[in-house]
């Protein structure tokens, strides 16, 4: 029974309520937020070490053991994703405090920010399928509020924000209905919602020929694909992510789409392991996502929209690893997941800084910023190298691992198409960098971007470099993660060894 697992869900909600109650004392409120976010980051890193040292940690909520009650389960995958998310949340929070007008942070922004944090942590840590649905809803409700929050550089009109939120709301209502349907199919057939228990029973029922369960698997692909912005459910992302205030864009593109990818990983490794048709569908979706995202990113003029489309393309690479369903593939996917979170959130924060300096969103009206904003130029360059998949940054290693996994599984057609996507990635990434930082232009001065905005960008860029140059420990960790999730029995034995198998 691990206290740490429980605190990672309980602390964000306690902070959300505290920030709500402390609205009269903004300094105290911000202090509480930063302290709590730092504690969450450190706590989640401690959890990764604890899981690595002593195995899967569980917390049985309200004392009802699995499969009857809800358990929080931290295996290496969940713990690592929580740690990465907490770091990105911390960076986004520090950025917000220098950027968001204090009027908005006082009332709704900070509480919703921590409710979102709780939803993300909960989604990664829960061992119960219906509870996962609940945490998805917690995340969505917080996002609706956060996206329409007005920011300091109001380059995006309130009308655009409302339109994007409405689109997101409608799509996710449909997604939630489908998820509920999928859960109902599984629960109606197996009589359980605990994921470990489900794994055993789905396996047994499929062996007896219950093929209708595959329908639930495909519904889950749609639901998680919608969250991960996989083609053909990608079209909401370029509206929603750029419309949000900059720190929220960073969180959305860095973490929220990861939650969808996490769902797909659990689907292919725990609930429906070794089901060939599911993996093949994911591979096809992945390659379409990768290519379409890259082609669409090439034509974008709006800096945030370009980054949003590149998120779609990068998700494609990630899903290739998931669809391969081999240890190398999953290790590559998890490595990609962790690094894309860092890269994309850093790029969105840097884009926010660029927009702050130039008062522009369009690449056409930018240029020559390398002189006025050298630090932004350097960090953005690191991000661009990572997006393009060039050394010496982490994006290179993550693409290399995906390609390696493709070669080892003998998927040469997919490899060729992925290489085309990677090439397009170089084009759209450098096109953006050249337009913004080189050439002639009004420039502008970096001094108007505060230290609280630059520090998180620099920290995330530093991490991108570190994981590019010293990738070995992280590769070791992701290989261990892949090894652990490839065998569902490890998870099942940790959650409910006796009651579930009887």
């Amino acid at each position: 029974m691990s206290l740490l697992v429980a605190l990672l869900v309980a602390l964000p909600i306690a902070t959300a309520v505290l920030t709500l109650v402390l609205w009269r004392w903004p300094v105290l409120q911000r202090g509480v937020a930063v302290v709590s976010s730092t504690a969450l980051t450190l706590g989640s890193i401690a959890l990764v070490l604890q899981v690595h040292a002593t195995g899967i940690q569980i917390h049985i909520l309200s004392g009802w053991p699995a499969p009857f009650g809800i358990v929080l389960v931290a295996d290496l995958l969940s713990a690592s994703l929580v740690a990465v998310s907490a770091s990105v949340f911390l960076a986004a929070l520090v950025y917000s405090l220098g950027y968001m007008p204090s009027g908005t942070t006082r009332f709704s922004y900070l509480p919703l920010f921590f409710f979102l944090h709780m939803g993300v942590n909960g989604a990664f840590l829960t061992g119960d399928l219906f509870n996962l649905f609940v945490f998805f809803e917690v995340m969505l409700l917080s996002i609706y509020g956060l996206v329409i929050t007005s920011e300091r550089d109001s380059l995006i009109s309130r009308k655009e924000k409302l339109e994007a939120t409405f689109k997101y709301l409608v799509l996710n209502l449909i997604g939630s209905a489908l998820m509920l349907l999928a859960i109902a199919i599984l629960y109606g057939t197996t009589g359980t919602l605990n994921m470990a228990h489900l794994s055993i029973r789905i396996d047994a029922l499929r062996a007896l020929g219950a093929t209708h369960l595959d329908l639930a698997a495909f519904l889950f692909i749609v639901v998680f694909g919608l969250k991960a912005a996989a083609v053909p459910f990608h079209f909401w992302l370029p509206d929603v992510h750029p419309s949000a205030p900059t720190p929220i864009s960073a969180v959305l593109s860095g973490i929220l789409i990861n939650v969808g990818a996490y769902g797909l990983i659990r689907l292919t490794t725990l609930l429906f392991p070794g089901v060939q048709v599911v993996s093949e569908v994911i591979l096809l979706v992945a390659i379409a996502t990768l290519l379409l995202g890259a082609v669409l990113a090439l034509g974008q003029l709006d800096i945030k929209r370009l980054l949003a489309y590149s998120s779609i393309s990068q998700m494609g690479f990630l899903l290739l690893g998931v669809g391969l369903a081999t240890v190398q593939g999953l290790a590559a996917a998890v490595f990609f997941l962790i690094n894309h979170a860092l890269i994309k959130s850093m790029l969105f924060l840097a884009a926010g800084g660029i927009m702050h300096v130039t008062r522009e969103r369009s690449l056409d009206r930018m240029g020559g910023l390398a002189r006025g904003a050298p630090l932004l130029a350097l960090t953005f360059l690191i991000g661009v190298l990572a997006l393009a998949g060039l050394p010496p940054v982490n994006g290179f290693i993550s693409k290399l691992l995906v390609f390696q996994a493709l070669i080892e599984s003998g998927r040469l057609v997919y490899l060729l198409l992925a290489l085309v996507g990677a090439f397009l990635g170089i084009l759209y990434a450098f096109r953006a960098w050249l337009r913004i930082f080189w050439g002639r232009g009004s420039g502008g001065s970096e001094t108007s971007v505060g230290g609280r905005q630059l520090a998180p960008i620099a920290a995330l860029a530093g991490l991108c470099l570190v994981f590019g140059l010293l990738a070995e420990p992280l590769v070791g960790l992701t290989t261990a993660i892949a090894g652990q999730i490839m065998d569902p029995n490890v998870y099942i034995d940790a959650v409910c060894p006796l009651t579930c198998r009887s």
């Binding site: 206290l3 959300a16 309520v17 709500l20 109650v21 049985i60 309200s62």
Partner: protein, 141 residues
């Protein structure tokens, strides 16, 4: 103009609805009921009051800060969510104290009730904040 029947029914329903919702709140956990539906019922009784009598009429008679109520409710719920940790029990566990009261005899105090009360206040506060906001400045009477 709202009919006399609506006005009379509303005043009656208000008391009955709130009493019934409180009984639902306390009955919850072991039998059907609980904080959420009790909160929704209380909020609907108040909503009826707003719809029939109008915001101005209602707010000249009493003024409740619904936002603060929902914040208070959340705080109470989170307190009871975390409380079991202090006793070395998992999150959300229900703590049970049995105490002897004069006349009433043995009474069980359950921390789940505290959690439900928090949820009840949060739901009432949130729904009525939305209702008041969407009522805007104009009178609905």
């Amino acid at each position: 103009m709202v009919s006399v029947v609506a006005r009379v029914v509303t005043t009656t329903v208000l008391y009955v609805g709130i009493l019934f919702s409180i009984s639902l709140l306390l009955a919850g956990h072991n039998s059907p009921g609980g904080g959420f539906i009790a909160g929704a019922m209380t909020a609907s009784a108040f909503t009826l009051l707003y719809v029939v009598f109008g915001r101005e009429y209602v707010e000249t008679r009493f003024r409740i800060r619904f936002r603060s109520i929902s914040a208070l409710g959340l705080a109470i719920a989170v307190f009871f969510l975390l409380l079991p940790l202090a006793f070395g029990l998992p999150l959300l566990s229900s703590l049970i104290w049995t105490i002897q009261l004069p006349l009433l005899g043995e009474v069980k105090l359950v921390s789940a009730v505290g959690f439900d009360v928090g949820i009840y206040l949060a739901v009432v506060g949130a729904i009525l904040t939305i209702v008041r906001r969407s009522a805007g400045g104009e009178s609905l009477g």
